[in-house]
Symmetry: C2
Subunit: 179 residues, 2 copies
């Protein structure tokens, strides 16, 4: 099953690399943005990872919900990776409540694979794969000491998607109840 490999790849090739550095990146960001406005009042210093059950993803979050607006990027991380010198890893900060927010990248792969005939699965199996990805990633992260308390997985069920502020409401629910 595809989702198992994608969950491991997302952890080993991304979260395990960037989450231990996130706290320092946010501190550097706050220091350089002090003058413009006191930041991060109620925000959370975790990486908020959106996992829509229907794998429906846009590349600009403000296109999904007008209550979400892009603020700025955290400082870049450059890491030598498999022959690419100084590969760049970056995160974007959004104004919902000041937080680093992005979709889980492998969902885009699952969405695109479900549209390719030769990839081997269609739309009905896709939801199962997204759910399996979410559960496998949760299990992996639960065992990871270096990523503990540095992330928040936000599973988005699509029953209220017709609400134009469905996304910001779901994020705020997570920020307020669990931090």
């Amino acid at each position: 099953n595809v989702a198992h490999g994608l969950a491991w790849s997302f952890y080993l090739g991304y979260l395990q690399l960037v989450l231990p550095r996130l706290e320092d990146s946010i501190a550097a960001f706050c220091a350089s943005h002090q003058a413009t406005r006191p930041l991060w009042g109620r925000g959370s210093r975790k990486l908020h990872i959106l996992i829509p059950l229907n794998a429906n993803i846009s590349h600009k979050l403000e296109d999904e919900d007008s209550n979400i607006c892009f603020y700025d990027n955290l400082p870049n991380n450059e890491i030598d990776r498999v022959g690419v010198r100084g590969r760049v890893y970056k995160h974007s900060i959004y104004r919902v409540h000041d937080c680093a927010l992005e979709y889980a990248t492998p969902l885009l792969t699952l969405y695109r694979m479900s549209q390719e005939r030769s990839a081997g699965f269609g739309e009905p199996e896709r939801r199962q794969q997204v759910l399996l990805f979410y559960r496998t990633l949760q299990d992996i992260l639960d065992q990871s000491l270096e990523c503990r308390n540095r992330y928040k997985l936000i599973l988005l069920r699509d029953e209220r998607e017709d609400d134009p502020h469905f996304l910001s409401k779901a994020i705020l629910r997570h920020l307020e109840h669990q931090d």
Copy 2:
């Protein structure tokens, strides 16, 4: 199986994005490096992707073989991806024969997964997964019009690994026979 998903993810999340832009990046690189030396005489304008069957990867190619040396990076590509504003994709140029060269990153995932008890496979299955990754990626790329003639997959069998210049020789063999 894991390799199938990783091959699709490598294509949909990377090769399909960067290969169509590679020709322009190399042209921009040559224009800005004209003064230092006439570049790309015998080199190839494809992305050379190394696929070692034993999934043995280092992050700096000159550590593997002293005949390979890092020259410079191509200009960065910035693309908005799943909420990350201006995600950076870059390639490194090495002096073997002036070419863009990197390992296939998913092999690092396969290597690391084979060391994690809960990931579900060990070293003997890993070789099979690498071979399956290579074959699946070949099939996907064979069908891809936008990536045609823009890449070269270099499968590295490990029988001659004790030769300190095994890697540069394998690359030169590919460059000379197939371009």
